[in-house]
Structure formats: structure tokens, C-alpha cells
Symmetry: C2
Subunit: 155 residues, 2 copies
């Protein structure tokens, strides 16, 4: 990424106004995500904001003249434990890059932003779950496969 692109694709924290810049549509590329009312969005935004630095959502907004769209996002929350000398673990979730801007290493920027935050908050590790298909990407970001993820759906 050259310096012009560096300026175009800055990582920052989610803001309420991002709902109207394609944030929900971006999440729809990740999984099931119905359209969300402004009220429901604001309520969830405030619930997460209450956790302060313990739960952050970051985005990349495309800063060129015809755009302003949110093109990448990821979230991190910090779990407080008793193990590891009352340690903390960062959990990365819901990472997605818009299909139109793949190959610009925006996913890597998101992961670095979230990992740096986890480290700064004193986490001894950061973890995430992904498909086997995405393992090479996360390996490039410095992650290693460790365990398996199990799930139980209620609905």
C-alpha cells in the first residue's frame, strides 16, 4: 500500500454515524445480518460503549471523494480471568473486508489495530475462531492454530 492509499484507508473506532455509511451492509457480507433500525443500532452501540476499552469495534472508512463507505471492520473484547495471575485475554470477532477492496491488506490492518489494543490493555494473548480456509490469512498476521471451536445453537 503506497502512502496515498495509507491516507485513504485509516483504521478508527466505530461511530454512530457509520450506520449510514454501509456498516450493516458490510456485516451482511460476513453472516446473517438483517437491517437494523436506527433505534436498535444506537441502543446496541451504547451497550457496547459502556464497556469502554474492554469492547471496541474498529472500522476502515474509504476516504476518497466519491466514497466515504465503511469497507472493513472487526471487534475485540477483553475477558478478565483468574488464571494466568488474574490475566486478560483479547477475543477478536466479526472481521470482514468489503469484497471490492480485497488485496489491499485492510484485514491485516484491522487485526493489527485490535491486537495492539489487546496488548496495550495487558492481555497475555489474543484469540479468534475462523474457518480452515482463512487460516493462511491469520498465520500471516502472526497467529497459530491451537484448538478447535465447538458450537451449540439455540435457534
Amino acid at each position: 500500500m503506497d502512502s496515498v492509499e495509507e491516507d485513504i484507508y485509516q483504521v478508527r473506532k466505530l461511530e454512530i454515524s457509520d450506520k449510514n455509511k454501509g456498516f450493516i451492509e458490510l456485516l451482511q457480507q460476513l453472516t446473517l445480518c438483517d437491517s437494523v433500525s436506527d433505534e436498535a443500532f444506537q441502543e446496541r452501540f451504547q451497550e457496547i460503549a459502556k464497556y469502554g476499552d474492554d469492547h471496541i469495534i474498529c472500522v476502515i472508512q474509504e476516504n476518497h471523494s466519491n466514497s466515504g463507505r465503511i469497507v472493513a471492520t472487526g471487534s475485540l473484547f477483553i475477558e478478565k480471568k483468574f488464571i494466568r495471575n488474574c490475566g486478560k485475554v483479547g477475543h477478536i470477532e466479526d472481521v470482514v473486508v468489503d469484497s471490492s477492496v480485497r488485496g489491499k491488506q485492510l484485514g491485516k490492518k484491522i487485526i493489527e489495530f485490535l491486537s495492539d489494543h489487546a496488548r496495550a490493555m495487558g492481555c497475555y494473548k489474543v484469540i479468534l475462531d475462523c474457518s480452515l480456509e482463512n487460516r493462511p490469512f491469520y498465520e500471516k498476521c502472526g497467529f497459530k492454530q491451537k484448538e478447535i471451536q465447538m458450537v451449540k445453537y439455540f435457534i
Copy 2:
């Protein structure tokens, strides 16, 4: 488990006094867990308690005359998302059963307690990471393998 054992092994939420009933020693069977000072324990207990029903730790105390020890534990925190119609996901962590009481299905009781809480809190799923070796246990609890877990250690 017969009805007498049912009485002996009840699941309840962690209390501050559990530190002196072998809770930390139990966690040491799971992973690295140094001895924790009373002050550090209380501070971390209060930090987690602030999350209320969004982060619970449950334990099983062995209620027979010569014991009173904590013999099983597990934790659950609830992540609030925008996807899935502003859905919630329960994350199960740090499940361990004392090696002296294995085979009594205490692990299953812990998982059921945490899963029931996640469902009651409106989560659409509950997830956890485990070793391949522990997959059969979680399958018996109604879980299925889905993704892989990736980790990056800072220390």
C-alpha cells in the same frame, strides 16, 4: 448420579469465600495459575461482578462432611453484536473438574448451567474452544465442531 450425589454436587455462582475452598488450586489443574493474593482475588472478583449476568463464573462445591472443596468450575460471558439482528453470543471458558471426582458428570452439569444461562439471556448460540481430545465430551453436551481457534501470545 443418584439423588444423594445430586445433593452433594450442586452448581452455584462463585463467591468470594471460594478462594479458600480450593478454587485457585482447581484452576491450576487447567493451566498456569499462580497463587493469587486475597486482594488481587477480590479486585478481579469485583471487576467481573460489575458485568452482572453478562459474565458469570459457576462452581460445584462438594457438600459432604469432610469436604466443602470446590471441585468443578466454568465461566461464561456474553458478547453483544450487531450481526444476527443485534444478537448475543455466549462464550464458555475455563471449564475444569477436579481429577478426584471425574466420571460423575460434573463437567456436564457445569456446561448445562452455563448454556442455560446463555439461552435465558437471549443468546442465539454458545461457543467454546477445546482440544481435539475433549471434543467427545462436548459432543455429549450437544455441541458440534465448527471452526478452528487461532492464537497469538504476547508473553
